[in-house]
């Protein structure tokens, strides 16, 4: 079996643990410590930010324009609208700037 296959299997097991784990753990406790809960609340923004921030170091004007448009559209639209707007700017601008 390839490494990729095992990454997928392990990733699937890890994911299932998160989906059933909260129930298994929480059903054993009456309360979650507020600091733990605060930390858990911060997880999505903290993890996802690290996937964007370093890309800014290598981003050119085209990439910056796409990200700015994405951010502006996010003030009104949903995830799909912002993604499409950012992607459209990126693809169109790359035809000219490359």
């Amino acid at each position: 079996m390839s490494t990729t296959f095992w990454i997928i299997i392990a990733g699937a097991v890890a994911t299932y643990l998160t989906r059933i784990g909260g129930h298994l753990v929480i059903s054993r406790f009456d309360t979650i410590h507020p600091r733990v809960e605060a930390g858990l609340n911060a997880v999505p923004a903290a993890v996802l930010t690290t996937l964007v921030a370093p890309e800014l170091l290598n981003a050119g004007p085209v990439e910056w324009a796409a990200l700015v448009v994405t951010a502006v559209v996010s003030l009104r639209g949903g995830l799909m609208a912002m993604f499409l707007a950012g992607a459209a700017v990126l693809i169109v601008a790359r035809q000219f700037v490359g």
């Binding site: 299932y16 784990g21 911060a42 903290a46 950012g86």
Partner: protein, 242 residues
């Protein structure tokens, strides 16, 4: 006998009611499934592997993170850890939905947790809060179409991705950062969002420059989470224990 018939038809209409609610989710997730397939192939996955990952992991953002790191030749255990980290939010969904589906048979519960995605949680929790029972048939009607379309579209995207000659011109290499920025911004209403984002961004950029990829992901994430843990809980909108 008569009650059997009634409960049977009730279950059926519950299922279809769930299917109806699943349609917006199916439509909204379709482009991401196709995108995932195309990006997976672009990052070195085969079509079968892209299909398998969608069928077994079934978590859009974590799959994107996984293939992104895979393409950067990151150590396998770190890819798995990152998938775990991105999916960690499900722990809270799981804790929340548990009391709503505790009356199901254990096997049904086990299946229910497998398809517990962001929209699945949001819609099921909304139904529970409106005072209605979250039944297995309804829950399955809500989740099954999303799952089936997700894996089929992933495979289609992977087949299609093999046909794209110039991925740079189509911007495919930079679509993920845009997608992740969209996800980050989607959480902006949460308390403490901006401080966490700033802490994670700063820490990940510094780590990227010094320690290097892929450690910037873990280091940046830990910085943001630590900030939320260290600050007094009321900043996070979490009520202190009485």
């Amino acid at each position: 006998m008569a009650t059997d018939v009634i409960s049977e038809s009730g279950t059926k209409s519950d299922f279809w009611q769930g299917v109806r609610l699943s349609m917006p989710v199916v439509v909204a997730s379709a482009p991401f499934a196709v995108l995932f397939g195309a990006l997976a192939v672009d990052n070195g996955f085969s079509v079968l592997e892209a299909f398998l990952m969608s069928a077994l992991v079934y978590g859009g953002a974590s799959q994107m993170v996984g293939i992104q790191l895979f393409g950067q030749h990151v150590a396998p255990w770190l890819i798995v850890l990152s998938i775990f980290a991105v999916n960690f939010r499900h722990v809270l969904y799981s804790a929340g939905i548990g009391r709503r589906i505790a009356h199901w048979p254990v096997i049904s519960q086990a299946l229910g947790y497998f398809i517990l995605t962001d929209p699945q949680f949001a819609v099921a929790e909304a139904r529970a809060q409106s005072g209605q029972t979250v039944g297995f048939a309804w829950y399955l009607g809500l989740g099954l179409p999303v799952y089936v379309f997700w894996i089929v579209e992933s495979a289609l995207g992977a087949v299609f991705g093999k046909l794209i000659p110039d991925t740079h011109a189509l911007g495919i290499d930079f679509l993920l950062p845009i997608y992740f920025l969209g996800l980050v911004l989607g959480f902006r209403k949460r308390p403490l969002w901006l401080p966490v984002v700033i802490a994670s961004a700063a820490a990940s950029i510094i780590a990227y420059k010094t320690v290097g990829s892929p450690w910037h992901v873990s280091i940046g994430a830990i910085a943001g989470v630590l900030l939320a843990v260290i600050l007094p809980p009321h900043h996070s909108g979490v009520k202190a224990r009485p």
